[in-house]
């Protein structure tokens, strides 16, 4: 059993690198996912993931599968779409989900078109689903930097982020931090998606944010604990997914997301806070 878990990583460097990569992604993506979920922006994360594609594609068009070019392209595209959608929703009657849907559909179509202009289907698959088993030093450094920035920024923004979810009117009455906090948060979402994109591709990157977060909601009512649980679930999914892909010879990115999906399904059934089994058999009512 130990052999089953241990040997793939002991024997193969690419497995060790993949494990370090997914751990970094889980560390940043876990808390971001929790905030996305609590702010009712789960689908926003998904939309933003698509929005990154044309930027990364433009980077690819100019420089091929190059880390800096695709990262910068993805960041620029993500930030532009995030800010544009944020501003549209703040200053017009169109809600954020609607404006994001408009932006991301355009982005996805544009991105796939741009990649096809130059590349093969293999490249397109690479962009859409990532290459977690081929992370080089620079990519790992990028992932580590992103999770460091994310965790530090969330620590600073924690109060206004929570307040803006719970009681935005109150925050507006005591502080002007609301709008900048929201924009910085969207920036962090983009940053993490770009990081996740290198490992898992644009379509699955958001999975390492939302699935652990959604699963953690079933285990606790405390937001701090929720973030810890979410990070832990992300890391365990990464490990389990890599092992699954190694032993069953499955593609690694989807295997990781499937593992996270499995933990989500188990939490949905068994979770102590509103899991289905507890709802079905709650036990007899209490005295008070």
């Amino acid at each position: 059993m130990l052999e089953f878990v241990y040997s793939p990583f002991a024997e193969f460097e690419f497995m060790r690198r993949a494990l370090v990569g997914v751990i970094a992604i889980a560390l940043g993506g876990g808390p971001i996912g929790v905030f996305l979920m609590l702010r009712r922006m789960s689908l926003t994360g998904d939309a933003m993931a698509h929005a990154i594609l044309p930027g990364a594609a433009v980077g690819y068009l100019f420089a091929g599968l190059s880390l800096p070019a695709m990262t910068i392209g993805g960041l620029v595209a993500g930030v532009v779409v995030a800010i544009a959608a944020g501003l549209v929703s703040r200053f017009t009657t169109l809600k954020e989900d609607a404006s994001l849907a408009a932006f991301y559909l355009l982005s996805l179509a544009l991105g796939v078109t741009i990649v096809s202009l130059r590349g093969s289907n293999v490249d397109l698959l690479h962009v859409l689903f990532g290459t977690v088993l081929a992370l080089d030093d620079n990519t790992l450094l990028l992932l580590a930097a992103i999770s460091t920035i994310t965790v530090s920024a969330l620590a600073v923004l924690y109060r206004p982020l929570v307040l803006e979810c719970v009681d935005p009117t109150f925050l507006r009455s005591v502080s002007r931090a609301g709008t900048p906090t929201h924009l910085i948060f969207l920036g962090l979402v983009v940053l993490n998606l770009v990081g996740g994109f290198h490992a898992l591709g644009t379509l699955l990157a958001v999975g390492m944010m939302m699935l652990p977060a959604a699963a953690s909601r079933f285990w606790t009512n405390d937001i701090t604990l929720m973030m810890v649980v979410s990070v832990a679930i992300g890391m365990v999914s990464g490990l389990a997914g890599l092992l699954l892909s190694f032993h069953a010879e499955l593609p690694a990115g989807p295997a990781i997301i499937l593992a996270a999906g499995g933990i989500y399904a188990a939490s949905l059934l068994l979770g102590r806070e509103g899991g289905l089994l507890w709802l079905a058999w709650p036990g007899k009512h209490l005295e008070a």
């Binding site: 109060r159 206004p160 009681d167």
Partner: protein, 248 residues
Amino acid sequence: MSATAIRFDEVTLGYGRRPAVHHLDGEIAAGSLTAVVGPNGAGKSTLLKGIVGTLRPLEGRIRLIGSSNAPIAYLPQAADIDRSFPLSVYDLVAMGLWSRSGLLGGISRKDRTKIEEALAAVGLIGFERRPISTLSGGQMQRALFARLLLQDSSVILLDEPFTAIDARTTADLLDLVRRWHDESRTVVAVLHDLDMVRRVFPQALLIAREPVAWGVTHEVLSAENLLKARRMVEAHDPHAHECHRNAA
């Protein structure tokens, strides 16, 4: 008359170009206890939003005098609080310390005592660890009043604070309003219960888009004024022209 806390200079507030509060001119004295009354749609909530600053006047201006240090404490009508958010009563109330603790400031032992005192003042001792999703409407309002207490602001605005609140909770919370008045804070409350206004609030502003009457409560709330207020707000003109009242 004592010093002015809030001064309105020909203020018009509204949405788009439509005025919800039209040409309000006057002032609220520091330390006064004022009720804002009027029919639905009269611009009462809009007026409070204007004072807090979340809504900019279309014309004229609102000046806050001598309360620049701490921001206004504002309790909106049916506060748009996400009740499903995993937050404890204690943390909700502690938000009242924002103007002092800000983004990163710690919560000291003294602050903790203050939070406990505020919880005690509204009768929520023992509720500290409860998630806000489990509170009843009245308990939520008590928690929000505790937060107002902690804000320790010299100007307090309440928008229909006792709507859908039972008699006992209303009485408890009214005691807090009286306490604020005794502490010479300026309190402005939007209310519908005219008996309560006559009983507790020395000053009143009767508004129906246009100000109808403003001053000592029993004079403002005359049968004649109330009738006038009812008539004014019903006069809604879909083909209104530009207002040139101040274009002398």
